[in-house]
Amino acid sequence: MATTDAGMASGRTLFYRHGLLVRLSHWVNVLCMTALLYSGLQIFNAHPALYWGQYGADNDPSFISMVAEQEGDALKGVTHLGGLSFDTTGILGVSNVDGEAAVRGFPNWLTLPSYQDLASGRRWHFFFAWLFVINGFIYLAYGFVSRHFRRDLLPAAEELKPSHLGHEIVSHARLRFPKGAEARHYNTLQKLAYVAVIFVLLPLMIGTGLTMSPGFNAVAPWLLDLFGGRQSARTLHFLTAFSLVAFVAVHVAMVLVSGVFNNLRSMVTGYYDIGQGGKS
């Protein structure tokens, strides 16, 4: 965050919030994570079940599975979660393809391509995985060298005090967002969320992904021990992806409620309007 202010006419203070590299890597990330999510669900559909441990196939106990069961003339989609079973016809296990019930883990509107094609799903997944990793390394290098992480994302000790955090959670819940000088930096909840995504979830995604590679297992066998086996890593890859989806949902909701135009402008041009009293 540079501290140049501009456009102070009519009581506004446009504050240069995001550097070019941060903005670019953010949008490349949006593209990559979208393609990775949908192609990942395509790959998952080739065997819509997850296991814990070193191995897992049809007859082994699964952590979650989405199957089709025949019920009379109709196909029923059933999702098993541990010992529990849910009827998920239409969404998981069995969904509608061209007007007919089809056996499908996730429905066609959640997969890339929409029809069942593992080979294409893998090609898209690995292409965007490479782009995502290269983008991530550039962002990390920039973040450390420019001191972006230390200056903008590292919470100060007093920000982590329970009283301060409690106060922020209450203002967030009331949808009261900082204005003026306070809006010049991220609040603690933002900082913690971004730090968790950048330094925990995204590396976990890459680590668990690589653990599924028989080639990479030979390069780094310790990954198998770290995640408790290839099938545990596959399950964690899936759970981490869902955590990221949850983060994106909250992130987008916050963008919408805290001023969608201002937020989008700052992520496109870099300039964020901190409103009245910005100079104080």
């Binding site: 029809y115 080979a119 090609r123 690995f126 490479w130 028989p214 290839r230």
Partner: protein, 258 residues
């Protein structure tokens, strides 16, 4: 009230149309040849990176007896449907022979008894299907490198092709026969074996009897079953679809390390 419902109906309809258009757009993009050639960049990157990090000899994880899967799923063909194979099977593979040919100095024909008499390697390894499931089994077989050394590779040999006895997809032009190929780095890797024994017993028909390939640093579709011949070649372009394997001809990566 009716106006709200109409508007809501309109919004739902518009959203569904937009998402259908989005899907159609994505599918068209997936099938575009230029897109495909751009995406192929990733395969080259993955292979070069893995080869760089792996070196020639890094071993796949080997497990203990306790880790062996209680049931090992059989995938692909589980019973080849052709007269030649059924004859072999009925004679308990006593008339079956493995042909070693192509760009070698000494072409060979080896019976199952001869193969079993050769020095063998035993390894407990994980089989990773491209679909996502895994199973652990114990394999015993002849190291491929030793066999290739005995046959003597000619200098122009670059790849080893595996011919199989299962026609996985019945086609008029015969392009549906299962086959696979690996390069010399993987062919001479210590864990690359021609397995005749699984979990202490003769290989079952469902798992590729009498002989299957194990290339432990790659995915399941490389582990060709029902071997009939090994051929050393200079390039893969002349075989079947030209991509070096049954699944490779159908869009899967030739280098299946990830």
């Amino acid at each position: 009230m009716s106006r709200i419902i109409t508007r809501r109906r309109f919004l739902i309809g518009a959203t569904m149309t937009a998402s259908a258009l989005g899907l159609a757009g994505c599918d068209a993009l997936v099938e575009n040849d230029r897109t495909k050639s751009v995406l192929k960049i990733a395969e080259g990157l993955s292979m070069k990176t893995q080869r760089f990090l792996l070196g020639d000899d890094a071993l796949a994880r080997e497990f203990t007896e306790a880790d062996i899967s209680p049931t090992f799923r059989a995938n692909g063909t589980s019973m080849p449907d052709n007269a030649r194979y059924i004859d072999w099977m009925n004679q308990r593979f006593s008339s079956w022979k493995l042909e070693v040919g192509g760009l070698v100095d000494k072409p060979m024909q080896l019976s199952l008894a001869e193969l079993k008499a050769l020095p063998a390697r035993t390894q407990i390894t994980r089989h990773d299907c491209v679909e996502g499931w895994s199973a652990i089994g114990k394999w015993t077989g002849v190291p491929l490198g030793a066999l290739l050394q005995a046959a003597g590779l000619k200098p122009e040999a670059r790849y080893i092709v595996f011919h199989c006895a299962d026609e996985y997809e019945k086609t008029l032009d015969g392009s549906g026969w299962y086959y696979e190929s690996i390069d010399l780095v993987d062919a001479f890797h210590p864990q690359t074996i021609l397995a005749h024994t699984m979990n202490g017993r003769d290989l079952e028909v469902a798992h590729g009897a009498p002989l299957r390939l194990r290339v432990e640093r790659q995915l399941g579709y490389k582990q060709a079953k029902y071997l009939t011949g090994i051929e050393a070649v200079a390039d893969l372009g002349q075989l079947y679809g030209g991509n070096g394997g049954f699944w490779e001809d159908r869009g899967y990566e030739w280098y299946a390390g990830i």
